[in-house]
């Protein structure tokens, strides 16, 4: 079983987080439609695009938290615009994702199993919350401090927010 995330030194986490957020100005991040819209010491909000099968695009906001970074991945959650409060299922700001041909992503709100309750779980190995739930992933898919960065988190999210996985907002 993998160790549960423990908060790291805030100063160290904030500095590493700040450095790695620079990736959002790279060509690749721009290609993926990612845009940094809020940056604080211990969190950032990234605007992402959901792209439906007919090409219609929907904006989403993902809040990344640095509390465990980069010993563990960033905490990640879909949030509402402006307030950055957690987006609830069945609302405009929470996407509907049905994975096609991939088995590495799950999206739950709330998650309540294995004696763990989380308001939201972006279930893949590049979020901190993933490690708060008992999992036994293949070793090669586990977050490696010093190798993986938040680019891994955001690039995978950009991938599932596209056709054929992305279906649209989960509510009005």
């Amino acid at each position: 079983m993998l160790p549960v995330p423990v908060k790291v030194d805030a100063e160290v986490a904030a500095e590493k987080f700040r450095q790695d957020l620079d990736w959002l100005s790279s060509d690749r991040a721009v290609q993926l439609g990612l845009r940094l819209v809020e940056q604080q010491l211990m969190y950032a909000v990234v605007k992402m695009k959901g792209v439906r099968s007919d090409g219609v695009e929907d904006d989403y906001y993902v809040r990344l938290g640095a509390e465990y970074y980069d010993k563990w991945p960033p905490a990640a959650a879909f949030v509402k615009p402006e307030t950055w409060e957690l987006a609830g299922p069945g609302t405009r700001w929470f996407p509907s994702i049905q994975c096609q041909g991939i088995s590495w992503f799950g999206l739950h709100a709330p998650y309540n199993a294995n004696k763990v309750m989380l308001p939201q779980l972006l279930c893949f190995t590049f979020t901190a919350e993933y490690y708060m739930v008992p999992h036994s992933p293949p070793p090669e898919s586990v977050w490696k401090q010093g190798y993986h960065t938040l680019s891994a988190t955001l690039a995978r999210l950009a991938e599932v927010l596209k056709h054929p996985h992305y279906k649209g907002p989960s509510g009005p």
Partner: protein, 103 residues
């Protein structure tokens, strides 16, 4: 589909690989147009200081063609018939939802 490149003058092919796991500066791979795609893949793993794992993905450009599937082609044939983009995207294994399947 493979073309006969024997009569063509070899040229240098440069591929930039974005490593989505690290977000670091793209890795530049150079080779001759007559080289196999596999030789570019080998150079990539040399640069990454690791070996290929079954769940690794290497996609070409916006079409996201699976580069590994064409390892035996020459790079020029791969460019002509499958993906002409000089940008590839690498992503290592991702684990996740086997215990909490995708909704």
């Amino acid at each position: 589909m493979e073309s006969n490149v024997a009569n063509e003058k070899p040229r240098t092919v440069t591929i930039e690989v974005h490593n989505e796991d690290t977000g670091k500066k793209p890795i530049k791979l150079e080779g001759e147009s007559t080289d196999l795609v596999q030789s570019f893949i080998t150079k990539l793993y040399d640069a990454l200081h690791t070996t290929q794992k079954p769940e690794d993905r290497l996609r070409c450009g916006k079409s996201e063609v699976n580069v590994f599937a064409y390892a035996k082609l020459t790079i020029v044939d791969f460019e002509r018939h499958h993906c002409a983009s000089p940008e590839w995207i690498f992503a290592g294994a991702t684990g996740g939802a086997s215990c909490c399947p995708c909704q």
